[in-house]
């Protein structure tokens, strides 16, 4: 009974937190603190379009400050268009935001995509962690069956990893060092995702502009 009550409380707190986060996000996207003639729904619609545009620009490697400029410009243009033809039509006139961002990015200096790299690295880390978790389940069974109080060894398929199983009282404890394979995979995913070599092309682009 206590467990059910506890779960209900946790769910309530989680729902409240989620609602606050959602409300905060919607407020930020719609910029409700701004005075203007457009309605809340219109501002929200424009905010969502601007956010989506920003997301595509980010994926094309457009830098943070340049993206901020492009976001503000689009917002101002959409505000103006919405006043003239209505928000729905103003947003629809942009066409596919993905294509618009690709075209805007084609002449803009692009650089490393750190956030893409971070997402790729996180994905690999999670997959690596799950794979090691599965591997350690089998390894623990073998360690327990050995009848020794403390077993230490590497996990199969994970070179450099070090697992330690120790019997303590009624139960046992496990410690794991992930090994170089997972760390290397995470690092490679980050490098491939973020493309740090684009720093050179950004410098080249700036040099060309100065000429």
């Amino acid at each position: 009974m206590t467990f059910v009550f506890g779960l209900g409380q946790s769910l309530l707190v989680a729902s409240l937190l989620l609602a606050v986060l959602l409300g905060l996000s919607v407020t930020l996207v719609a910029r409700t603190w701004r005075s203007g003639r457009s309605s809340f729904t219109d501002r929200l619609r424009i905010g969502v379009a601007v956010l989506r545009y920003d997301g595509w620009l980010e994926l094309h490697g457009v830098g943070r400050w340049r993206r901020r400029d492009l976001r503000e410009e689009l917002r101002a243009n959409l505000d103006d268009a919405a006043e003239r033809v209505g928000t729905a039509q103003a947003v629809a006139a942009l066409g596919p935001l993905r294509r618009m961002a690709a075209e805007a990015a084609s002449g803009t200096e692009t650089g490393p995509r750190w956030s893409t790299g971070a997402v790729a690295a996180s994905g690999v880390l999670i997959v690596g962690f799950l794979a090691e978790l599965i591997a350690i389940i089998g390894w623990t069974g073998a360690a327990e069956a050995s009848g020794v109080g403390r077993v230490q060894g590497g996990l199969p398929l994970f070179p450099g990893s070090l697992a330690t199983w120790e019997q303590s009282g009624q139960g046992f404890s496990i410690a794991l060092e992930p090994g170089w394979l997972v760390i290397a995979a995470v690092a490679i995913a980050f490098v491939l995702g973020s493309r740090p070599w684009l720093i050179a092309s950004r410098r080249e682009h700036r040099a060309r502009r100065i000429e």
Binding site: A76, D80, M100, A101, E109
Partner: protein, 132 residues
Amino acid sequence: MPEHDPQMLKGALGLLLLQLVSAQEDYGYSIVVRLQEHGFSELSEGTVYPALTRLESQGLLEARLVRSTSGPARKYYRPTAAGHTELERATRMWFHLVATVAEIVPPPRNPADPPSGHPATPLPEIPERTSR
């Protein structure tokens, strides 16, 4: 009014934008409206805004923010010195192309006129553009 060929329009878009902001410093949506008023109804915001961004990135346009009473600050564009030079070059190239094409392709026949192997109307004179 018939729609314009998208490929041809794409090639001339930079020239159109440079000319418009050269005649009058302007911001994105207003440029779209001006283009549409000139008969380019197929040129939408999704085409014009990235083209302005590209011209700015190429150093042909420069921009400044102007506060607006109705909303966020507007970004007004005007050509740079390189933009003016490019406008003159592109204008010369455009009229050269039109003149060369006109030497081969006769103007379209008026449907009311009797069929003839020769052009029904004389070729239009190509205006000369003086450089600044």
